[in-house]
């Protein structure tokens, strides 16, 4: 790549960062008015971390693991328990009483997330030992099962003094501001991207593309898969922790299999094997579930229809518009996307400035040869 292009890309990236930061600053300055937008952005960012972590094992290493919700559950509880204010703990754990050794341990959010990462990574190491010997469907079933077991364990009365059993952990201090949440998410995604660009990342992709060749090149299949699984699970845990802070509570019912599928949806929609795809997928899935809310209102279209017809149809309503209809439309949109972009929005490529310009050029003049990079 020549130098002027590199410089251009750097400047464009900086401008993008400044604009984003500026926008976030505007939102933050009047956070009460913009609370809805802030909510969507924070939720999207957190899901983006989860989606990238899932993409790491599914899209880049080619191992179909569906344990994301389980690790998010562990992450949510660990982060939650470590950050709730000590003075509120007796009140939250009024039924079981908090375990003495844990009662006075409270750490800042950053430290809590680091501890979460380590705990999730260690658990993933031991889970991966037996489970990663399985392939494709069997691996998926085993990890799904693990995820449900985690949920059952955290909701178990016997651990009430630690997890507060089915009551969950509440009163977790919220993010200080939107920057705290977004910044942590960005750091997580950048770390994972750097890993994917290192020789380990190439080994992951090698295993995905051709196990025999990867092994012949001296890649230790099992160790490399385990590394991918551990890192993926550690960051899934961080995403879970962030989600707990975002919702200010952690209960097992959040971390059902449906959550895993929701994140899988973001990964597939965005593009399996693309970090930028996963981020976009997370924003689109989270965002559109909100933007389509107008479909849940019963009256909107019938009023317009009445006005157009000139006569009142009285209480006649457009038959489909009712609570929950947005999910129908959302599903149809998904099917359309998957039909027409069956590799997801970005495919396995990353979005870069060069590709963006090449893409825009197509609309300007006659189609130019797509650069194969």
């Amino acid at each position: 790549m020549n130098k002027t292009l590199k410089k251009r890309n750097l400047i464009l990236t900086l401008i993008l960062i400044v604009i984003t930061a500026g926008y976030l600053f505007v939102l933050q300055r009047d956070s009460v008015t913009h609370s809805y937008a802030i909510t969507i952005i924070e939720r999207s960012c957190i899901y983006a971390v989860a989606a990238v972590s899932m993409n790491l094992i599914i899209g880049f290493t080619g191992q179909f693991s569906l344990g994301t919700a389980g690790f998010m559950c562990i992450g949510a509880y660990v982060t939650g328990i470590l950050t709730i204010p000590v003075e509120m703990r007796d009140q939250i754990y009024y039924l079981y009483g908090m375990a003495g050794w844990l009662h006075d341990i409270r750490v800042p959010l950053g430290v809590a997330l680091l501890i979460t990462m380590i705990i999730c990574g260690v658990i993933a190491y031991f889970i991966g030992w037996p489970v990663l010997r399985l392939k494709s469907d069997y691996l998926a079933i085993a990890t799904l099962g693990f995820s449900e077991i985690i949920r059952a364990i955290f909701g178990w009365d016997g651990l009430g003094t630690i997890t507060n059993a089915s009551y969950g952990v509440s009163n977790i201090p919220a993010f200080a501001n939107i920057f705290e949440c977004v910044l942590i998410c960005v750091v997580c995604i950048v770390v994972m991207t750097l890993l994917l660009r290192s020789s380990y990342g190439r080994a992951f992709k090698g295993i995905r593309d051709d196990e025999i060749a990867a092994e012949a090149m001296g890649v230790n299949l099992f160790k490399t898969m385990q590394l991918s699984f551990v890192v993926s699970s550690a960051f899934a845990g961080v995403a879970g922790g962030l989600l707990a802070v975002f919702m200010r509570s952690a209960v097992t019912s959040t971390f059902t299999v449906a959550l895993t599928y929701n994140i899988l949806l973001m990964v597939v929609l965005g593009g399996i094997g693309s970090v930028s795809g996963s981020v976009i997928g997370a924003f689109i899935v989270t965002g559109s579930q909100e933007w389509l809310r107008f479909l849940d209102k019963e009256y909107v279209f019938s009023d317009i229809f009445n006005n157009l017809a000139g006569t009142a149809f009285g209480a006649a309503k457009v038959p489909f518009l009712r609570n929950g209809f947005r999910m129908v439309i959302f599903s149809i949109l998904l099917m359309i996307v998957v039909l027409f972009w069956n590799h997801g929005i970005t495919g396995s490529k990353e979005i870069t400035w060069d590709r963006l310009f090449a893409f825009l050029k197509k609309f300007k003049k006659e189609p130019v040869q797509e650069e194969r990079a």
């Binding site: 090698g206 051709d210 025999i212 092994e215 012949a216 001296g218 890649v219 194969r372």
Partner: protein, 235 residues
């Protein structure tokens, strides 16, 4: 020197390799020729640890390689260019080359230059996805990738498989070049004619056993070899 003694390989009771012994002296080209299913590929795969042998020894200098894991064997300076090329189709040529050096922690620039010098075509196409290369280019990439590990001995499994005759000639020229640069070559081929021409020493393998051996030239003029593998009858 690589020494293989009385190697045996079973696949679930079926004997693929019954008793194979051969030597690969340093800086030479040694070839194993034979028909389909003779056990040549299994032999290579077992040397590099992808397949477990059920008997015999493989020695690399003073080191015994049996029972070692593939990554340890590759670290010892042995690499395999697998049969059917096995490049990573969705990664660029450059990424493919870099993964060949996976176990090395030192700088790759020098070796990249060396491989690019050997295969100028790969340099032109370094940003292209490997899956979009032609068969011959993919084979060059597979060889280049194996060279990135900076091996003392490179084992090639059927490098001429499925390639046009003119491309096959290119590939064999490259094999000679690689060897001249100091790398030992262990070559497995069905194309006995080409393989015997460049080999310093050759072994004929039939039904999992070594049935004949000699210098490349000797075997080329051997009547039995001519009849069975070169497609020319005595006369």
């Amino acid at each position: 020197m690589l020494e293989v003694r009385n190697l045996k390989i079973n696949y679930g009771g079926i004997e693929a390799v019954r008793d194979i012994s051969f030597d690969v002296p340093d800086a030479k080209i040694v070839t194993l020729v034979g028909a389909n299913g003779a056990g040549k590929s299994s032999t290579l795969r077992s040397i590099i640890g992808l397949v477990k042998s059920s008997g015999g020894t493989v020695k690399w200098g003073k080191e015994v390689l049996n029972g070692k894991k593939t990554d340890e064997i590759v670290k010892n300076g042995i690499t395999l260019v697998p049969e059917g090329r096995h490049v990573f189709p969705d990664q660029t040529v450059l990424e493919n080359l870099k993964i060949g050096a996976y176990l090395r922690k030192d700088s790759l620039e020098e070796d990249l230059e060396r491989v690019y010098k050997l295969f100028p075509r790969l340099k032109e196409r370094s940003w292209q996805l490997a899956g979009t290369l032609s068969g011959g280019e993919q084979q060059m990439l597979a060889v280049g990738r194996a060279l990135m590990a900076n091996p003392s001995i490179i084992m090639m499994d059927e490098p001429s498989l499925g390639l046009a005759p003119i491309v096959v000639q290119d590939i064999f020229k490259i094999i000679k070049k690689v060897n001249k640069a100091g790398t030992t070559v262990l070559l497995v081929e069905q194309n006995a004619n080409m393989a015997l021409r460049i080999a310093d020493y050759a072994y004929v393998i039939e039904n999992g056993r070594v049935t004949m051996q000699g210098t490349g030239k000797e075997l080329l003029s051997n009547e039995d070899v001519k009849r069975a593998y070169l497609g020319t009858s005595a006369g």
